[in-house]
């Protein structure tokens, strides 16, 4: 349904005076999502996860240049087409209630989303009530303002905004940080349910643990590139291909809790070779010469020359 290949996003910024500098925030990024599939996008902050969502929704700022291809349902996704599709065929589950209008009740806001998708006011209201009911929100919730919702209720309202659309692709941006484990599981299950109706879901998160609970496949981002796309079960069976993914898995508190020192390379000065080469335990001189290609190894995609089948 969605295929992204070799996507790069570069920002042009003024440095000093009229001197400009280029920030390569996303380089050679690949991702695909099938109908009825939940793909988790995992990576550290600054790895380009949220920018990918912005690119899909066509809301990048004016100083961004985009190269590579994004195809949605077989047709290239141009900025004009994403503008036409966002909110109808592509929907976003935002990060927090901060994305809602603070001065409008949540019922009216969700109803408005349904109306913008072509429903008349009456049926839109019924659909909003049915959706809230479906997520066990109390009967007075539609009359509440965003600030009156608890964390868990807010999650369900935000998921509702995507459910009342007929979107084929739902993008959920960091829906779970700092929530109680029960609320996390509940939110993730709601996202999982969406795939049952044949929708594709992209779950953007830094929390591998949460991602593995519901995802079919996991794409691992590092410094704006896809380093690995693995099946969710590859993590627990230890069948991981890229050194960064292995390090990320080992650093979980329930595993070894050891960290790789250092930082992601800065987008102002990306190394010419593999982006992980300065922190990688397996680095060789070959790694530092050219960017590794994405290869198909053991039923998964990996961008590392040392991964063996």
């Amino acid at each position: 349904m969605l295929t992204i290949s070799d996507l790069s996003i570069t920002f042009t910024q003024y440095d000093q005076g009229l001197r400009r500098k280029q920030l390569a925030v996303i380089t050679d990024l690949d991702l695909s999502v099938q109908a009825g599939e939940l793909v988790a996008v995992v990576g550290a902050s600054g790895s380009g996860k949220s920018l990918l969502a912005h690119a899909l929704l066509g809301i990048l700022p004016a100083n961004a240049q985009l190269t590579g291809t994004m195809e949605f349902q077989g047709t290239p996704l141009t900025p004009e087409r994403s503008q036409a599709l966002r909110g109808s065929a592509i929907a976003l589950v935002p990060q927090s209630v901060g994305y809602l209008d603070p001065l409008m009740t949540v019922g009216r806001q969700v109803q408005r989303v349904a109306q913008l998708n072509g429903l008349p006011a009456g049926p839109a209201k019924t659909l909003m009530k049915r959706t809230f009911n479906r997520y066990d929100l109390p009967a007075q919730t539609p009359r509440r303002y965003p600030f009156q919702l608890s964390g868990g209720m807010a999650r369900r309202v935000l998921v509702s905004t995507a459910v009342v659309t007929q979107a084929d692709l739902v993008i959920a941006d960091e829906p779970t940080p700092g929530l109680h484990p029960d609320v996390v599981t509940e939110t993730l299950n709601h996202l999982r349910e969406l795939t049952g109706a044949g929708r594709g879901v992209i779950l953007i998160t830094h929390d591998i643990d949460a991602a593995l609970q519901v995802a079919d496949r996991v794409a691992v981002f590092y410094a704006g590139t896809t380093v690995e796309v693995a099946d969710a079960q590859d993590f627990s069976t230890g069948d991981l291909r890229h050194p960064y993914t292995q390090a990320l898995w080992r650093s979980l508190p329930q595993n070894e809790f050891v960290a790789v020192p250092g930082n992601q390379p800065s987008p102002e000065s990306l190394p010419p070779g593999c982006l992980f080469s300065d922190r990688c335990p397996q680095v060789t001189t070959e790694c530092q010469q050219a960017r590794p290609e994405l290869r198909f190894v053991r039923q998964g995609w990996v961008r590392c020359i040392h991964a063996e089948s």
Binding site: S45, G152, P177, I208, S251, Q254
Partner: protein, 213 residues
């Protein structure tokens, strides 16, 4: 010893109690884990201990003295969202020197790059800014550190890195740490089993102070 005795707190005279009869004590060079579902007043308790809020009833003592009202508070708190904890109009180097200047070794250990110093907070990612917020409190004048979901918005690798640095700092200067988190595996890693308190299970927390080494 940082002690809180029978703390009660509510945000207004007609509002419900947020913190009820909490008593707890933490020794230097120990890590206490605090767990509870949303709405149990964990963050409010942290703010009370760090002197951000004044308890409605009860008192807080640091080595038998009340918390100082002026100057750098020896009890420091780090929140989940660093964007709200730093002055958006200050550059990073000024933010780092807001209290006492941090030691260079911790800046290096946290991976804080010298090129960040001349930037503003919005020019760093959340994970980078959180390291700055943590580096700011890693100085000798911090005696107790309250980590309120300090690494909840960070990836696993950065989380492990930050806790390694904070644990080394706490051990070197005998700093007591209270870690507020929903993440049970994380608390199991950083606390002794007897030092993890679930506020929803015990009316009065059962915390066994660390025996002198």
């Amino acid at each position: 010893m940082l002690k809180a005795e029978e703390l009660w707190f509510r945000y207004g005279a007609h509002l419900p109690w947020v913190v009820r009869e909490q008593t707890l004590a933490i020794a230097p060079d120990d890590v206490m884990g605090l767990m509870a579902p949303s709405g149990y007043g964990k963050t409010t308790l942290g703010k009370l201990l760090a002197g951000y809020l004044t308890p409605t009833q009860g008192h807080i003592t640091l080595d038998t003295q009340p918390l100082p009202q002026r100057g750098y508070c020896p009890v420091q708190i780090v929140f989940q969202n660093p964007e709200l904890a730093v002055n958006p109009r200050w550059r990073i180097d000024r933010i780092l020197r807001e209290g006492h200047p941090p030691q260079l070794q911790y800046l290096d250990a946290l991976g804080i790059h010298s090129s960040w110093m001349s930037r503003y907070p919005h020019e760093l990612s959340g994970g980078e800014l959180q390291r700055v917020a943590i580096a700011r409190v890693l100085n000798r004048h911090t005696r107790y550190l309250i980590a309120d979901e300090m690494t909840a918005m960070l990836d696993a690798n950065t989380q492990a890195l930050i806790w390694q640095v904070v644990a080394a700092f706490a051990h070197q200067y005998g700093v007591g740490v209270i870690a507020i988190s929903h993440n049970q595996p994380l608390l199991n890693q950083i606390c002794r089993p007897q030092a993890i308190i679930n506020l929803s299970q015990n009316a009065a927390p059962q915390y066994t102070p660390k025996s002198p080494a």
